[in-house]
Assembly symmetry: D2
Homo-oligomer: 348 residues x 4
Amino acid sequence: MCADTLTASVVGGSGFTGGELLRLLAGHPNFEIAQATSRSYAGKSVGSVHPPLRGTELRFSEPDDLESVDVLFTATPHGVSMGQIDEFLEIGDTVVDLSADFRLNTEEQYEEWYEGHSAPEYLEKAQYALPEINRENLPGAELIAGGGCNATATILGLYPLFEHGVLEGGEQIVVDVKVGSSEGGAGGGEASSHPERSAVVRPYAPTGHRHEAEIEQFLGTSVAFTVHAVDMIRGASATAHVFPSGPVSKGDLWKAYRGEYEDEPFVRMAAGGGGIYRYPEPKAVAGTNVAEVGFELDPSNKRIVVFSAIDNMMKGSAGQAIHAANIALGLEETAGLEFLGLHPVGAP
Amino acid sequence: MCADTLTASVVGGSGFTGGELLRLLAGHPNFEIAQATSRSYAGKSVGSVHPPLRGTELRFSEPDDLESVDVLFTATPHGVSMGQIDEFLEIGDTVVDLSADFRLNTEEQYEEWYEGHSAPEYLEKAQYALPEINRENLPGAELIAGGGCNATATILGLYPLFEHGVLEGGEQIVVDVKVGSSEGGAGGGEASSHPERSAVVRPYAPTGHRHEAEIEQFLGTSVAFTVHAVDMIRGASATAHVFPSGPVSKGDLWKAYRGEYEDEPFVRMAAGGGGIYRYPEPKAVAGTNVAEVGFELDPSNKRIVVFSAIDNMMKGSAGQAIHAANIALGLEETAGLEFLGLHPVGAP
Amino acid sequence: MCADTLTASVVGGSGFTGGELLRLLAGHPNFEIAQATSRSYAGKSVGSVHPPLRGTELRFSEPDDLESVDVLFTATPHGVSMGQIDEFLEIGDTVVDLSADFRLNTEEQYEEWYEGHSAPEYLEKAQYALPEINRENLPGAELIAGGGCNATATILGLYPLFEHGVLEGGEQIVVDVKVGSSEGGAGGGEASSHPERSAVVRPYAPTGHRHEAEIEQFLGTSVAFTVHAVDMIRGASATAHVFPSGPVSKGDLWKAYRGEYEDEPFVRMAAGGGGIYRYPEPKAVAGTNVAEVGFELDPSNKRIVVFSAIDNMMKGSAGQAIHAANIALGLEETAGLEFLGLHPVGAP
Amino acid sequence: MCADTLTASVVGGSGFTGGELLRLLAGHPNFEIAQATSRSYAGKSVGSVHPPLRGTELRFSEPDDLESVDVLFTATPHGVSMGQIDEFLEIGDTVVDLSADFRLNTEEQYEEWYEGHSAPEYLEKAQYALPEINRENLPGAELIAGGGCNATATILGLYPLFEHGVLEGGEQIVVDVKVGSSEGGAGGGEASSHPERSAVVRPYAPTGHRHEAEIEQFLGTSVAFTVHAVDMIRGASATAHVFPSGPVSKGDLWKAYRGEYEDEPFVRMAAGGGGIYRYPEPKAVAGTNVAEVGFELDPSNKRIVVFSAIDNMMKGSAGQAIHAANIALGLEETAGLEFLGLHPVGAP
């Protein structure tokens, strides 16, 4: 483990994800924040945008003033990183990109789900950030691509079923995701205004959500995917309705999930125990880097219902990025990510 | 149409559903409230429990003091009405029961999903209240059984597909319902307390929800059914993921839904138009007796996604009951149910 | 009472207040909507912006296409009406303006709290819309100025104390108002986005709120006024901490409030009775034109605490405007405003 | 500073405050949790009640099985600790009581605001936990009394004005506090149920709130105090309307607040700077031990408006208790309390 302090900068520091990265870096034992860029807020204190950072002296820098660092986190809108990736890789020894630019493996996939890619040569070099499915490739990685929040929740729920032989690919899977308003990012528009967005159950991506691409890439099978906006700020909750081809017992499921996750520091099972929080819920992981995963069997419909819940700002983006960086740089895996969450807690 | 004023009483008047019935009756041009019973609140003003009724002089009566009326609405917990149904039918010329006691057609069905039925002879006599699927049997009905809120939302979404040949039965259907806290009724417990219930996405009926029975009864096919609690007070939103056996076009779907619903006063289509509210949402129907229904096609997954949204207290219980009573008694169908809703509006 | 149907148009029909006016007019027995203007949405259906109006065929008109009507409601941003008032008065026999342009009596007052007024000659002609304090001047009024929502709540709470001799003017009065997000209007900005606006208790007008001007105009005394934004959509709740110069009993207070309000159709007392809703609450009046008013005595601090709660979109703007128009035109006072509210109900 | 690990137990571990104490102790570098008692949940895992603790093996103990520890935190309902204080002081070398039992200095005060005290001899021995006003008496204290949450917010807002000569006592002060639902504790009743409690602005303590006693004890003057329940879970926001006897400038205020708080690790000023969060807000401190304090001048009303915001579960109870224990035991003041908060964040 590295005892020295590493320098880290955040490109796109005024957005929600950028703010979370800064907050986590500020509390991280091994990192020192060098710069946080923001074209709109350059010169202003980061605390004027992100209240948790009010105690620091840090001010936003102009993007053009970036200096070399050990790790560069890029929290820019989709399409920005691919245009500046060479520059970013010169600035940071390690680059962790939190946009969708490098999540997919091939140019063909990218073009199917997004639009043309301007730096396709990096697609196969980039390592997917999610340690639970790609830990072995992270140490020493130079370019890390943070996973999509809804894809992360879905993949973590279903992955053990494929890895442990419960599913083989080709089975019918419906994934119904519920997400909070922070997924829309800072700024928002009319649909994101408090009067219009509060208390909704709004089908915001009935079909064709781009995270389907990542899910299919890592599970090797397609899923019927729908996303609803609900009234919370942080959080993504994925419910997968899975129809296996043969009989499956609770024992099979426990074996698959325990086998996959029992040593994972940031995955926790919640499958029908006692108390109020019997299954995964975003509230139970709010503010943490933990993913909760659980399941229930529906014998009369030959169905497995898989639940997974994350804080989309943490396990679904900034926390996952720090986790991956920790592994890439040989730090303690859980460094800076130990927050346990709160109880009670509201719109996570 | 009947010009005289009819008398109506509500059994179980202190609960949420009872309160809604009283509120609707108070604003109904053809009804006069005779009594509202409540064992706990007998003697107290109905307005002390239900703020909308603060302007009335009505006080809760003891259940034993019920007098004869034209229509008796029974909003009691499941299992109560079946034990008193003979008495209720003596008191009311028409009885509209809002519990689950008379929703299913046969004793076998009832025993599969609930427990023993003490008045099974009424099961086939009772008419299901939902006019969109049972209007022809309501005029003159003596015993009407209000539908379950989640069943109502689901049935209204899927029924046209079966009636108009898009589905035949046996297709794979997953229904993922999101519901508000009023479904838990007044009183609540620890899990319904504000700190624990706010901002949840909580799998509260992962499998085996009893409304599955009604859905199967009326659609003639089984559905894989899961209910999540989300942060709203009123509202049920059902998303059905349907896998038809052959190709289906948007035209086929519009034909089915328009064919079924274009003359329905309380069903409204919302399927991908402009604005913020493109698909059905509980907020868009909050406080009204309207069900919104819409759909989207997912060609790559050979899937139809059907959305339906209701106010569970209105179209899902009290409004549906008044609507059925209007038809049963030959009144104007929409009498007392004309409220258009609010915009903007919060947790519906 | 007039039995004919009157025509009404709404200028600024796509905003929240415009939408409420249209909704109320659509359900009003004496009005027929002629036009609803919106520069941005001209040609689009009003239902695409305001879900409650999805059942109507009405489309937004260009502001320049306005035709003559019996009543013209103007729901434009502050400063617009004063520039077009001559034109508006030609179009509508009666004009009800919901902006701040004509609320104050003199140009001096206006300039103290706002900026220069371009049509000061109308300031003394305009009649303040709030019937509880200005009913006698409304019949036949040509120009009516709707009151500010926070001013309305405050005035209704304090007015009886001045009218019935409990206060004389000059006493210390602190008013602490809590408001919902609809006061910010449609569109919103970053501060109004759901992630930033949810669950706040935000001092948004610590001092110097412009509604102070109206309050002082009608009560004849100054108040120390502070407004907080809280997490609801509709609703304004004013708490006035009043320090009378001499002793005051509960009897004195009941006498003042009953004396003032017992015949008012839209004011309801709530002062420490039983049940959950013991004092005025926005939830108890959500969607209605009712103002709830109540009080408590604090003998040890020689203080009267006065509570008042309204739905800012109704009693605080659109409902108050319809109420005033009803009186101005000799219609039934309560016509179109009979909605009783809902229970339970969320962010009102 | 002490490098050894100290043992700590929590009496009343299943309540909200108990859960927060356990969570903070679990993340504290100097404490090891010995026991958490709960009569109702004895034998169950603490994680089944408090999701943040799901990663620990700890189970609830019977209260009678308490063993000796270095510090005993008692989070029991008011009135319990006074009956067991001798026993508690035998079990814990230091006892930190979070109830109201030992907050007041004299039996007379206690009897005025509560009921009879069964261990009045401890009233003057107990040290008030709030370090900002009582730091010098905490080192080595054997019995520490945690402050009330609303009192804490109020005292922190007003204390500098008295300490730095802006106020002398006797001035008119109105304090209007807005609180979240966690103040009601776990369990809740009908009024705390989600449908009834959501989106309220509810006057729940119009006058006579017991925290007035603490405020008067520490400020030396009475305040007119009113508490409203609003829609958040954590958080208390106090707005004090202060009427000084002579002129006061912004410079005077900054001098008072900076003079008092500039070295305080857990007090942060927020007084009209840029950004969305210009004044103290519960959201800005959610999950942290920070109190935000700010002010605005209202020259036309000769008023100072003072805002203060805390997380009632942290600075208002569990965090304050840990802070005081850190000082009492000679640990690093901020140990275990470094969490910076989240942005964005919902109902705190």
